[in-house]
């Protein structure tokens, strides 16, 4: 219960946010805002969970999309198997969701146990290497995954608790609830003592170890939780596209997620969400004019990284802090006179 009292403000904001999202989705009689927001939910969960590693713990992972794809594939494969849906009937969607999260979590324990001991450069490229391993498994195991075609033929979604995920309104609300719930979990984790332990490890791992923190274990827990949340993003995208595709496990997906974080703001909790929205809009706009989207996105990334050197919300935050400080300084001066 104390959790609810401690986070009542955040819970209230989350609830209001959820109501607004649902109102947008159900109130506007057009599929575009729903589709747009659903794809943002998926991308934002990937980016926000990655930011738990990059922004809060200082672990720069270049292979996070592997968990995103794995979640989507587990979910899709389970629901496509007639034996699974036959045995569980109405319960198959929730069970598949839980199985996707737990399965990804178990996989990330193995990967994480190897990777989190390493310092940042090694960590970055080992996570990349394991991601490409998963990608090549998905591509070569054609019988199970459909190879480069992805999971084809649609994904059956039996009705459960009166929720019919084949209906676009039901699906949108379901995805919105999943998204807000995951964001809330991350909020609680990053604002709890555990979250401050993560920040301490990021700032000075040696000192954290001196203070009795089991650095490897804390990093591993963070890695597993963030991977599991990324898998929920994959599940949302699987529901949305009614399929799963190997590109989700490709390195470019991870690079995109890293850029969303960087673009939106590294040190602001909701920064990655803004990054996801901006990048998605940018992508859509560029696509209207040219098929060479990559070159444009590449140039934009260069500009943001070498020019701005921080994300949009970081920029706003710094500006705000500076303004506050200038005001305080002015007040002090006035007081002295």
């Amino acid at each position: 219960m104390s959790l609810f009292i401690e986070f009542r403000r955040d819970l209230l904001i989350a609830l209001v946010g959820l109501v607004v999202l649902i109102a947008i989705g159900l109130g506007i009689d057009h599929a575009w805002p729903r589709d747009f927001l659903t794809s943002i939910f998926a991308a934002a969960l990937l980016a926000m969970s990655l930011n738990m590693l990059i922004g809060y713990t200082g672990l720069v992972s270049f292979g996070h999309a592997a968990f995103f794809a794995l979640g989507g594939y587990i979910f899709g494969l389970l629901l496509q198997s007639p034996a699974f849906t036959g045995a569980l009937g109405a319960g198959s969607v929730p069970v598949a969701l839980v199985a996707a999260v737990i399965g990804t979590g178990v996989y990330s324990v193995v990967i994480g146990a190897i990777c989190v001991r390493l310092t940042e450069i090694y960590f970055a490229f080992l996570t990349l290497a394991f991601q490409m391993f998963l990608y090549s498994v998905i591509l070569s195991w054609v019988d199970l995954t459909g190879g480069d075609q992805g999971l084809m033929g649609g994904i059956p979604r039996p009705v459960f608790l009166g929720i019919d995920l084949a209906d676009q309104y039901h699906r949108y609300v379901f995805c919105a609830v999943l998204f807000v719930a995951c964001v809330m979990i991350m909020r609680i984790m990053t604002e709890s003592p555990f979250g401050y332990t993560l920040r301490m490890i990021r700032d000075n791992a040696t000192r954290a170890a001196f203070l009795g923190v089991n650095v490897t274990r804390v990093k591993l827990i963070c890695f597993v939780v963030s991977s599991s949340i990324a898998s929920v993003g994959g599940v949302i995208l699987t529901l949305f596209t009614s399929g799963a595709y190997p590109e989700w496990a490709f390195w470019a997906q991870s690079g995109e997620a890293i850029f969303m974080i960087m673009l939106g703001g590294l040190n602001v909790f909701l920064g990655p969400v803004l990054g996801a929205v901006v990048l998605r809009i940018l992508n859509d706009v560029v696509q209207m004019y040219t098929s060479h989207t990559e070159i444009v996105i590449g140039v934009v990334i260069m500009f943001v990284v070498l020019g701005l050197r921080r994300g949009i919300l970081d920029f706003v935050k710094d500006w705000w802090v500076e303004k506050q400080q200038a005001r305080l300084a002015a007040e002090n001066r006035n007081g002295q006179e």
Partner: protein, 302 residues
């Protein structure tokens, strides 16, 4: 998934053994050239060049065009190497040098952006289709017969070039004035520049040399592999595995690890074709667990 009968049958005939060993060796040599560039750059500049695969691709495409134009493969290989080297120097001066000493995230992002841009540029200039150079005219000779197996002359040329370059790289870093300055600058750049040496130029040259190695690998790979935009990433990941297994910063280690991986690939393609990638990752995981500094890495902490 495993086909041990095929593996045993191959192991028992010298012809198959020779064929697999040579194809493993050329894969290994290409990996070695790319990985030694990564290792050299990391050893001195302490940045991981995540865009190294792009220079491999650029080298291959340059060599392809030069070969189509001139018809001389040796000239084409030179064009590939020098072209990749020049691109590398430009990349270092204009982009990567701006994020030296910054956090890894920035380095990763600029490399990501660079890969996106180069891949798209290659698509615009050369098209998205697969290109094949074919064995160059100079090497269209009857293959050598060794213990029942056939070894194309180009393979011998490839291995010889790679070994010479490997030895040359070690000598360059350990024996020459250039190598000494670069190693000194890696330890203490302000001190070296206080002695009146323009450190930035040396860093850029070393970066360019590392990229030229990738370019040579691309030029050597062009006759035996098909060219496609995005070909850089596959070799990048494998060369990372090589540097991890061999030990970061060690060129002999990269050589040993590249041969191990090359043989794993070629022999694995007979015995367990679907598990070749898995086997490479297993080797890497084992090395990381039992010998975290790599086979020949210095005992520095990571």
């Amino acid at each position: 998934m495993f086909d041990f009968d095929a593996l045993a049958a191959c192991m028992s005939t010298s012809a198959c053994l020779v064929n697999q060993a040579t194809s493993g060796l050329i894969i290994g040599m290409l990996l070695f050239l790319v990985a030694s560039g990564v290792t050299l750059i990391f050893g001195v500049l302490h940045v991981i060049n995540f865009a190294h695969g792009s220079f491999y691709m650029v080298g291959a495409y340059f060599a392809y065009t030069a070969y189509v134009v001139t018809g001389n493969y040796f000239l084409a290989a030179l064009v590939g190497a020098v072209g990749a080297g020049i691109c590398g120097i430009l990349f270092e001066r204009l982009i990567i040098s701006r994020v030296y000493g910054q956090n890894l995230l920035m380095q990763l992002l600029v490399c990501y952006a660079f890969i996106l841009i180069v891949d798209d540029l290659v698509k615009i200039i050369w098209g998205a289709e697969y290109l094949a150079m074919g064995i160059p005219a100079e090497f269209r000779l009857p293959p050598f017969r060794i213990a029942g197996g056939y070894v194309p002359p180009f393979y011998l040329f490839l291995v010889a070039v790679a070994v010479c370059i490997g030895v040359g790289s070690v000598l360059l870093v350990t024996k020459t004035r250039f190598g000494k300055i670069v190693r000194a600058a890696a330890l203490n750049a302000p001190m070296v520049s206080a002695l009146g040496i323009r450190v930035n130029i040396y860093f850029a040259l070393l970066f360019g040399y590392g990229c030229a190695l990738a370019g040579v690998a691309g030029a050597l790979a062009a006759p035996v592999r098909s060219l496609t935009p995005g070909m850089g990433l596959g070799i990048l990941v494998e060369s990372f595995i090589v540097t991890v297994i061999g030990g970061m910063g060690s060129i002999p280690g990269a050589f040993l690890a590249a041969i191990i991986l090359g043989l794993t690939r070629s022999i694995g393609s007979v015995g367990f074709p679907l598990f070749v990638d898995g086997a490479m990752f297993m080797i890497m995981a084992l090395v990381l667990i039992f010998r975290p500094t790599g086979l020949m890495g210095q005992g520095e902490p990571r």
